[in-house]
Symmetry: none
Subunit: 190 residues, 4 copies
């Protein structure tokens, strides 16, 4: 196995263990065992538990972003793109985390580096969603005077909360993406 590969194996193992147990309850021994290597080997590739956490966290942001970027950059219409985005988010939530955990936060681990990285990716997502709104306007699906920030927030709310609940109660077949998009387009008012 190449040096790069082993590094990636450790990153993946670390992300799994950190997600499952949290930073403080995850032992370096757990990460090593999960990766099928010795404890000391981790330190050949990473300086400390903290930096391993940061690297694995950022690596995961990158991987997730690469997957989702292809959706945003694909050459399809507004509605299809939004539908694909929501479908992807549904699957992502399924494998990655539980709803409740996404609401909880502890300041402790959020180093400047990780905050910056997180904000960077959030900004990228945000930017993509903003571009999607603009595309919708160009395609004459959305109103010209639409407030992109508000609409993006609604999309995020749906992807985090509505889909999150469906994941939690395992009601995938109840999700009607057509209805979601219609709700956004037509509004809830009379």
């Amino acid at each position: 196995m190449s040096e790069i590969d082993k590094r990636q194996v450790i990153l993946d193992s670390a992300f799994q263990v950190f997600m499952k147990k949290g930073f403080h309850n995850a032992k370096m021994a757990d990460v090593a065992e999960n990766a099928g290597i010795g404890k000391g080997t981790i330190y050949e590739y990473f300086d400390s538990k903290k930096s391993l956490f940061e690297e694995s966290f950022i690596n995961n942001l990158e991987l997730g972003y690469n997957d989702i970027r292809s959706i945003f950059e694909s050459d399809i219409c507004f509605k299809d793109k939004l539908t694909n985005y929501l479908k992807f988010k549904y699957n992502y939530l399924s494998v990655q985390s539980s709803l409740a955990e996404n609401f909880l936060a502890h300041g402790e681990l959020v180093s400047k580096r990780i905050k910056d990285s997180f904000m960077l990716y959030m900004a990228k997502y945000y930017n993509h969603l903003n571009l999607l709104v603009e595309q919708g306007i160009r395609e004459m699906v959305l109103k010209d005077e639409v407030d992109a920030e508000i609409m993006v927030s609604c999309i995020m709310g749906i992807s985090n909360n509505y889909l999150g609940i469906k994941v939690l109660f395992k009601k995938e077949n109840e999700i009607d993406y057509e209805k979601i998009i219609n709700s956004l387009l037509c509004g809830f008012g009379k």
Copy 2:
């Protein structure tokens, strides 16, 4: 000071310290000092650090819920209620936490007990927002066939993301609650 009062003093002190430092970096000595009492005294009222965290977390959910319940239970129209709710959330976000931290989660501390409690309050919020949607339908402001889950998710998305960003960049005066509600009512589509 009565026994009940001292318990509450400890709970408040604990919540402050846990929010500021996170569970693992908060020392029992910090909580005691912040409460102006001795370390040993905490153990007269709570079994362990973990249970103190849980109690303080749930206590805070209760306090927050009591504040917001009065909004939902007030005798005002749909639009005013929704506006008041969003305004309250804005202030809450301002004092409680930063945007980025709300996105991050570590599984470690989320015991079944705390998850259940959290879900209970989420369900209460959810229920209130659902009732609010029903009120909107009764007041003929919303369509009869509105999907409450989707609308509630949009409201949550706005309160967590849109307001969160405004808090983060301290742009309170930019928030146009009228426009937010109009967006929800009329939709973003042509």
Copy 3:
């Protein structure tokens, strides 16, 4: 036991263990056990193993110096003072260290702080021995033109090497302090 006393108990225990095992082979657990306390307690009084070593080393210099100063400051004649000094050194060597160890040194632990402290006490000893030489000149026992540095070095050589060997081979009764002093006074030449 008072706080000061417990501190001293730990210092004494630490000095014993460090002298016996050396810094790196002495475990904090050894020091604690030797002092009859828990490991954690040491950290109530000292910041780290390193600082415990330094404090115990310096403390020992102080104690040794206090003992020997009383000899130098006593109101007796040159010869008696020199005899007492050598007798004291003999006993000190007996309980403190072996000859061979005094020759070996490893730079590692010698922090600036400890070096300064050591040099300070060496300078004090040196100064006392110089004053002793001056006293000898005033008492007309020593030549006026005596080179104090050379004579002090000879005294140190005798106290470290000659007495050290006697300690090592446990030949206390062979030591003839009279002869030693006569040798210094009359020289070895014809």
Copy 4:
């Protein structure tokens, strides 16, 4: 490079690193890098770090002894021999160690083997100095009844302390070997 030569390269490299960093702070990786070889190669020639230390220490004693033996075995008079010895010691102190470090000792590394070896060489030095004293007696420079042990200790004191201080304060040109020897011969008394 022959096997013997590589062994010697490692021994030299090891001695340098051990003297500079001390046993515990010297890493095998340091020794290997300093010798320009791989870590594993050291283990082709030495069993362990401990044995490498012992071998390098003893090897250095041998080298130092070989240098000084030639002085003692040269065919010159007592005074010249003593002067040459002191001059050699001065240079040796200059390159090998600082004064303070020579006073400090930590028991840890002094295995029986190394102690024995050290004592052996000390005994050799001692023996040479004793022979030198006898030569002085034969040459009628020293008194017949001179106590060799005391005189040797004085010489050692001068070489370790007096010369050590001169090295430390870089006052080589202040050393008056003539005066030192006269002091030893005539004594310090009236």
